[in-house]
């Protein structure tokens, strides 16, 4: 029992450069959240989790998320088993208003088009040599939906869960940085100035029936989406039925907050430099960025194609909102459109492809899971 052996029991003795790099990454996440307001509800928990996960643990002490019997491993259980994402979808459902989508059904297609990012990234990942399952899990980053990405990765490529989750959430936070250049590149000034008509009002009855029918349609086609869409539409029904207000309220407050805290923190803590800083992770980050770009382009281009057939033109900018990342990408649309024409209000129009994109990504995840899940 001397000072040397004591020193070996400290974490400083085991600190590596990689840990310092990751701790810095965590600090940057928190900095961006606090000063730039980039998705703070995600970046603060993940950022602090990264810092916690990169204090090197002592051998033999159950501390980290990968260490059997540790507290963090129990909290991480909800990530590895895919339990947290559906609960978050429950809360999101209980706060989502599908009205704009119901009043503008043709805009839903933009949410489908943006899933191009998913499948092209899947092919690209395969090309680079990832396995089928891994490629599918990487592709879903293009769905721009953190919970969906974590859910699919936990089911078919748990070994990539950490980098996929971090990539998905990072790019969701960076949507206001990634999307505008793509949008400017693919649209003309005239297109960006297109104004859209205010849509019709939606009855309560329509809003109550919608989650039930939409759930049936989606999952009869892609049963792999049962868990995520079941919770999403269940939460929405709790909200829209109005007779279960108190349940919807708890789902979109206490429940989603607690799960968000635990999910963000443990996902962050899963990024120990020793296992996280690999060429593979860096590739996933590059592929993730590309998939966001492709998804954005997919939505915008499809909107332009639709305009060839429509009498009442739609503003192609709102195609970018099809990537989901609710509601950030819709806000990017509003910001870009308003720069061109300060009197143009695209936000509510953009919410339609935005929520449709969530559904689209969940269907895509269901398809990937049901087919790729069978391979080794």
């Amino acid at each position: 029992m001397d000072f040397t052996s004591f020193f070996n029991n400290t974490a400083i003795a085991h600190l590596e450069w990689g840990n310092l790099v990751m701790i810095l990454v965590g600090v940057v996440f928190i900095y961006l959240a606090v000063t730039k307001d980039y998705e703070p509800l995600l970046l603060v928990p993940i950022g602090f989790g990264i810092i916690v996960g990169n204090i090197p643990p002592i051998a033999g002490m159950p501390l980290g998320v990968y260490s059997e019997g540790s507290v963090l491993s129990y909290l991480y259980f909800g990530v590895t088993k895919g339990i947290y994402p559906p609960l978050i979808f429950l809360g999101i459902g209980a706060m989502t208003d599908f009205s704009t989508m119901l009043s503008n059904p043709k805009l839903i297609l933009l949410g489908a088009a943006a899933q191009l990012g998913v499948f092209l990234t899947f092919l690209g990942s395969l090309y680079l040599g990832f396995s089928l399952k891994q490629a599918g899990a990487i592709g879903i980053i293009g769905g721009a939906d953190g919970p969906t990405a974590i859910f699919l990765a936990s089911m078919i490529a748990p070994e990539l869960l950490g980098p996929i989750a971090i990539a998905a959430y990072s790019y969701m936070a960076l949507v206001p940085v990634i999307q505008p250049p793509v949008m400017y590149l693919l649209t003309t000034k005239e297109e960006r100035r297109i104004r859209m008509k205010a849509p019709r009002k939606v009855s309560r009855k329509e809003r109550i029936i919608f989650p039930i029918v939409a759930f049936l349609i989606c999952t009869l086609i892609a049963p792999g989406a049962i868990t995520l869409l079941g919770m999403l539409f269940f939460g929405n029904l709790l909200k829209e039925s109005t007779v279960t207000d108190r349940l919807a309220n708890s789902a979109r407050n206490a429940l989603i907050d607690i799960v968000t805290i635990l999910l963000g923190f443990t996902v962050g803590a899963s990024t120990q430099a020793q296992t996280f800083l690999t060429p593979q992770s860096i590739l996933i980050f590059i592929l993730g960025a590309l998939s966001f770009v492709v998804a954005t382009a997919g939505g915008v281009i499809f909107a332009k194609i639709m305009n060839l057939f429509l009498k009442e033109k739609i503003n192609p900018l709102i195609g970018a909102a099809g990537v989901s990342a609710v509601p950030d990408s819709a806000r990017v649309v509003q910001a870009v459109g308003q720069k061109e024409d300060p009197g143009n209000f695209l936000l509510m129009h953009a919410m339609a492809p935005n929520v449709a994109g969530v559904i689209g990504s969940a269907i895509a995840a269901g398809v990937l899971w049901s087919v790729l899940g069978k391979f080794q």
Partner: protein, 134 residues
């Protein structure tokens, strides 16, 4: 789990008997099929609701009278509910009944007293609910 660039190549897209390109196209199609059906459903629902709604509405006069009668009945019940609340308040001054109501705020069966009393405050809700739904 170890990744290396040695396996890079277009051949990966067609490994074994699995054609990843075909799969991706079908996958995109399925996403579109799902969302297109949802679109079509949304477009057709108001029309469906109107058609379904017409049948019971046919004998308009009778229906109107019924609705009117229901409203009167409900208002009676609401008055009764207020009377109940007042009576309880007089006899159980220690706010017992308050807690009981609160505990099941959303469950007003069988006679919907509190639901309708709430509705009085938020008139649009009552009218919307009373007529088209029942």
């Amino acid at each position: 789990m170890n990744f290396s660039f040695d396996h890079m190549g277009v051949a990966n897209l067609f490994a074994g008997d699995f054609n990843a390109v075909t799969f991706s196209i079908i996958g995109m199609l399925l996403v579109f099929v799902g969302l297109i059906i949802i679109s079509l459903y949304i477009v057709s629902l108001p029309w469906l609701l109107k058609r379904l709604g017409k049948r019971p509405a046919r004998p308009t006069d009778a229906a109107d009278k019924l609705a009117e009668q229901q409203t009167i009945d409900q208002e009676k019940e609401i008055l009764m509910a207020i009377a109940t609340a007042f009576y309880l308040d007089q006899n159980f001054p220690e706010e017992n009944q308050k807690i009981t109501w609160k505990s099941h705020g959303d469950v007003e069966s069988p006679w919907l007293i509190s639901g309708r009393v709430q509705g009085m405050a938020q008139r649009t809700h009552v009218t919307r609910r009373v007529f088209p739904h029942r």
